[in-house]
């Protein structure tokens, strides 16, 4: 049983939880994740490690209420317990001095990218960040990310039907004016897919942290399998970071819709109320 030490509401439906997990806190590295099961009848879901405190023995996770488990989590209070909390899982983020790193994040991933950005900064990188939020109300974490970045751009705009074009111009602007060694992107699947499409003509190394559905998280079931360079990889043991140019984004998006409760085939992905957010 793992105690909830702290909870904060960062934005409507977006929560930060600090969980007592000394064993995981001792070993956690940027880019890794935990598997969470709230109660005895609960399902197992992955949550990125947003931060850790090795002395306090705690792990911080940030999540968006999108399904049963995240909604169950959202009602827990400080002092309550989570039944299972497993980690640290996945390969840590690859940290190197690339010169300038452009970080493009959307949704609640703003919080989860901080350890990676921190490590990249410590490795000597100059950081430029773009945060994509639907509106000012849903914006958070900009101070934390901003303090690590030499430049911060905030892009808001309600997601329009089927298409999020708001990040295109800001992204191009930076790629045209700076010598970027690496682009890292985390957030809704279609945002990451779009980022890869925009950076591709610039030929900049682009890494995405993928978000497939997982069940065990240790490489035993293949639920999280993604097609990368035409080969099957398991995001939980080979990732979650992958070369964004090599990812089969449509396959990832389709697999993420497996349990969205609608088995009837649909031809398009509609952005409003989409499982990808």
């Amino acid at each position: 049983m793992y105690k909830v030490l702290l909870r904060q509401d960062l934005a409507p439906n977006i929560h930060l939880f600090k969980i007592e997990a000394p064993g995981i806190a001792k070993k956690a590295q940027a880019g890794q994740f935990v598997m969470v099961r709230v109660d005895e009848k609960g399902e197992r879901i992955p949550l990125t490690i947003a931060d850790w405190d090795r002395e306090e023995g705690s792990i911080t996770v940030v999540f968006n209420e999108v399904g049963k488990t995240t909604r169950k989590l959202a009602v827990l209070k400080e002092g309550d317990f989570i039944t299972n909390f497993v980690g640290p899982l996945g390969l840590p983020a690859h940290i190197e001095n690339f010169g300038t790193v452009l970080c493009v994040v959307g949704g609640y991933s703003v919080a989860t990218i901080v350890p990676v950005v921190r490590a990249l900064k410590e490795a000597g990188n100059k950081i430029i960040s773009i945060i994509r939020a639907p509106n000012k109300e849903m914006l958070f974490g900009e101070k934390q990310l901003g303090s690590l970045s030499s430049k911060l751009m905030i892009v808001t705009g309600d997601i329009s039907f089927d298409y999020d074009g708001f990040i295109i111009e800001p992204l191009k602007e930076i790629l045209n004016s700076e010598k970027v060694g690496l682009v890292i992107t985390v957030g809704p699947t279609c945002v990451m897919k779009l980022v890869a499409a925009i950076t591709r003509p610039f030929g900049v190394k682009t890494i995405a942290s993928l978000n497939p559905i997982m069940v065990d998280g240790t490489g035993m079931c293949g639920s999280c399998r993604v097609t990368v360079s035409n080969k099957t990889r398991f995001a939980c043991v080979d990732g979650p970071e992958f070369d964004a140019y090599e990812v089969d984004w449509y396959s990832l998006m389709a697999r993420r819709c497996t349990y969205s409760g609608d088995m009837t085939p649909k031809l398009q992905y509609k952005c409003r109320n989409c499982a990808q957010w």
């Binding site: 399902e43 240790t218 490489g219 035993m220 079931c221 293949g222 349990y259």
Partner: protein, 467 residues
């Protein structure tokens, strides 16, 4: 000489039409009268070849004699002195290729139903005494600590034996419940989870400390365990990396590895959705690829989850199927359709990408391959399409590479299995033993248990020499 009784007492089973709508045990177990009747068929032959046929050397004629004498506590004692998990073995061991194949009466095609009797004894114990209060003599603690990685059959058996020998055992299990494949892989209707939990609780009651949610290789490495006070390590991490066809379209939604399908259904109780949160939606037409026990289990789960048609698609013929004959018969009785000499070559998706058809080709059997079975060869021009909306790929598992990747000095084979001595389970790394599927590749519960036993004996010898 008494007349031989060649009438094997059949196992009462749920009717196929009834049992496909529930996840309850198919085999119902002998009544006391049936058990005595079957047990009295044993001729107590002096050679007792059955014992050699048993991977854990159970004193078979002795426990059977105790049943005939009505001395059930004695039967329990004899059985459990060699086998810590009899309720499990009695249900899932392929006795027909082990003790029962060696049985003297097998020559008359009426081997003693040793497995059914083992199950009877184990079930009697569970029903008649609290499981925890087992008559075990407390041994003097040796002060030595052993880390057992994995709580499947190999790990549980090694832990039970080591604990009985007086060593302090800590079991590290990656999942949120113990039991390994016993809990996540074998369905409720073959092996009730309550029984698995009882056996796990028994091992813990012997003095083993169970740490769940602990992924060795991530939270601690084997080297860290050895420098943090553990005198020896046993690796029982299993073969847990699913093998896929690597055919086009295999990553479409609706296509599962058997591990995922069974983990959702069995471990996470997807068959009780929405009472349990994990979904396991099933289509109308399900194809299960493979011919082993896992394929049978997957197909029979699919039926019970509500599929209208379930197919087993296997590239060789019926004679080559590795699944237990009993489970194949159960599957056929339940109405599962077997498509032999058929191999999938690709998958097609519909809108939203969901799988809607499987491309197949007919096969014919050529010369034997390394497994000794005739090699399946595609017949050109025999391609056809099967309409399916759910696919389960049950082609087996490779060893999970995490421990090998994070432990220095541990030699692995070309297939990723850990190299270990067949008799002692010693690996190439000092103080580290291994057994079960991680050494042999995917095999049986009982062979993993045998490996656990042998490793425990070897570890015990080593630890005693340390003092």
């Amino acid at each position: 000489m008494p007349k031989l009784n060649l009438n094997r007492v059949p196992m009462p089973r749920q009717d196929p039409k009834v049992r496909i709508k529930n996840f309850n045990e198919v085999a119902l177990g002998y009544t006391p009268e049936q058990a005595k009747e079957e047990a009295s068929r044993c001729i107590q032959c002096p050679k007792h070849p059955c014992i050699e046929g048993c991977p854990v050397d159970i004193d078979i004629p002795d426990f059977i004699k105790a049943i005939t004498e009505g001395d059930m506590p004695e039967a329990v004692k004899i059985l459990k002195s060699k086998n810590s998990l009899p309720g499990i073995c009695g249900r899932v061991c392929p006795q027909e290729t082990q003790c029962e194949a060696a049985c003297t009466l097998a020559k008359k095609e009426a081997p003693l139903a040793i497995g059914r009797l083992e199950r009877y004894v184990a079930d009697w114990e569970r029903a008649n005494k609290p499981a925890i209060a087992s008559p075990v003599e407390p041994t003097k603690p040796t002060g030595r600590r052993v880390a057992v990685i994995g709580s499947g059959p190999a790990g549980l058996t090694a832990s039970a034996d080591l604990a009985k020998m007086g060593h302090k055992v800590t079991i590290f299990e990656a999942l949120h419940v113990a039991g390994g494949v016993l809990m996540y892989g074998i369905p409720e209707f073959r092996l009730p989870k309550e029984i698995v939990q009882t056996e796990v609780d028994y091992v813990v009651s012997l003095g083993a400390d169970l740490k769940l949610d602990s992924v060795i290789g991530k939270i601690d490495t084997v080297d860290e365990l050895l420098s943090n006070g553990y005198d020896a390590v046993f690796l029982g991490t299993g073969a847990g990396a699913p093998i896929f066809l690597n055919a086009p379209g295999e990553n479409l939604p609706g296509i599962y590895s058997a591990n995922e399908f069974l983990t959702r259904t069995v471990l996470m109780k997807g068959y009780l959705f929405p009472e349990y949160d994990t979904p396991m939606p099933i289509g109308k037409k399900v194809a299960v690829i493979g011919g082993g026990n896992v394929a049978m289990d997957s197909a029979r789960c699919a039926l019970r989850l509500g599929a209208q048609e379930v197919y087993i698609v296997y590239r060789r013929s019926e004679a080559e199927m590795p699944a237990r004959r009993e489970e194949v018969e159960n599957a056929m009785e339940e109405g599962i359709i077997f498509k032999f000499l058929t191999n999938p070559t690709g998958f097609l998706g519909g809108g939203r990408g969901w799988v809607m058809a499987m491309e197949c080709i007919k096969m014919e059997l050529g010369e034997p391959d390394e497994s000794g079975r005739r090699r399946p060869i595609p017949k050109p021009g025999s391609e056809f399409l099967m309409n399916v909306d759910t696919v389960v790929v049950a082609l087996g598992n490779n060893p999970n590479p995490l421990i090998a990747q994070t432990t220095k000095g541990l030699e692995t084979s070309r297939h990723g299995t850990i190299v270990a001595d067949e008799v002692t389970g010693k690996t190439t790394k000092e103080k580290v033993w291994a057994g079960g599927d991680i050494v042999t590749g995917a095999a049986t519960v009982i062979s993993a248990m045998g490996a656990g036993k042998r490793a425990a004996a070897s570890i015990d010898t080593y630890l005693k020499e340390l003092s």
